[in-house]
């Protein structure tokens, strides 16, 4: 029986990790090693699957439903981590299934919970890591759209958080609040940046030059070029850069 429409599910085949398993409708697990896994249950009733004798060790559990306190405590005794909340705060179970088999599952949002007392949104990510975003970070857009913290949900299959009519991308949230994500994103950007600035930076690195090694051009100006704030320098500046790098001006963009 097909329980989820997962067109590409690389984890279902074989015994290799990570391994995705649908136990029954609305209950699934993603094993990342023989000692560590993630379970998702779509309702409190489904947690009946977990019995007192079970040993889940370092497994974590997400229940996309509200749990009463005793049940939450029971599950906390079985799992290393338990996350739960009202259903509208989470993606649908089908979307969670698709998020868990995505290569970038830890960067997707599965849920978003609001703490009114702390004036923060707690974003539950694909690996159940939580990222806390203060309300103050959600600044109104230039069109005047402001966030509504009474109407919070995950949208675009985990790529964004919706607050009323306002949407914030997960990329922006993680870039701001997750140092590791930011380091990876910056590295990716520099490796794949096809702009003049990206080419210049790659070539400069290859030559082992610092920004202060370009006579007649300030460190600050070179930084602006690398960040793409100056699309392409002209004339004498371009010639100075090329001469220092030992290439023809037109060759810089080939690096």
């Amino acid at each position: 029986m097909t329980l989820l429409d997962l067109p590409e599910d690389p984890y279902k085949k074989g015994e290799h990790y990570p391994r995705f398993t649908i136990v029954e409708r609305g209950l699934m697990s993603l094993r990342v090693s023989d000692r560590k896994g993630l379970w998702v249950a779509s309702s409190a009733a489904q947690t009946e699957h977990f019995q007192p004798a079970d040993r889940h060790g370092r497994d974590r559990l997400l229940v996309t439903d509200e749990l009463d306190s005793p049940l939450h405590e029971f599950l906390t005794a079985l799992f290393s981590d338990v996350v739960s909340g009202p259903k509208p705060s989470f993606l649908s179970i089908d979307e969670i299934g698709k998020a868990l088999v995505a290569r970038h599952f830890a960067d997707l949002a599965l849920g978003a919970l609001v703490s009114v007392a702390r004036e923060a949104v707690v974003v539950v990510r694909g690996d159940l890591q939580r990222t806390i975003v203060p309300w103050s970070w959600f600044r109104p857009s230039g069109t005047g759209t402001a966030p509504d913290f009474n109407d919070v949900a995950v949208t675009d299959s985990g790529l964004a958080i919706r607050l009323g009519n306002y949407e914030a991308s997960m990329d922006a949230i993680l870039y701001e609040f997750d140092r590791d994500y930011r380091a990876c994103a910056r590295q990716r950007q520099l490796e794949t940046d096809m702009s003049f600035g990206g080419s210049f930076r790659r070539l400069r690195m290859q030559r082992g030059l610092s920004r202060s090694g370009f006579p007649g051009i300030s460190d600050r100006e070179l930084g602006r070029i690398e960040r793409g704030e100056v699309v392409r320098p002209h004339g004498a500046t371009l010639r100075l850069i090329a001469d220092t790098l030992g290439v023809e001006p037109g060759d810089i963009e080939t690096y």
Binding site: S141, T145, D156, G158, E167, A168, S169, D171, E221, T237
Partner: protein, 94 residues
């Protein structure tokens, strides 16, 4: 409200979207091409996809060409939402 670039019906029907979110990284200015839980960031200054993963070649040619054709509209949408950081930057080199 995020700004949407209206797409040809066939692309919309296949689940493709192009958005500028209310809140996303300011630099460099970009629009986001979305399908399911995959996204491709389109650099509004360089007119190129910014990331190698996911592979930009997975975006249908029709959509890539559409984004190029509608580039001016996307820039206008960005500038509308980010008046303090417009796509065009004045050259301040000697």
């Amino acid at each position: 409200m995020p700004l949407h670039l209206p797409l040809p019906e066939r692309l919309s029907h296949e689940g493709w979207k192009v958005k500028i979110y209310d809140n996303e990284r300011l630099e460099p200015p970009c629009a986001t091409v979305i399908r399911g839980n995959l996204e491709w960031r389109w650099n509004l200054r360089s007119r190129q996809f910014m990331d190698r993963e996911p592979d930009p070649r997975d975006v249908p040619r029709e959509l890539r060409e559409f984004v190029q054709v509608e580039h001016t509209k996307l820039v206008r949408l960005w500038d509308l939402t980010r008046p303090g950081n417009p796509v065009a930057i004045t050259e301040d080199w000697p």
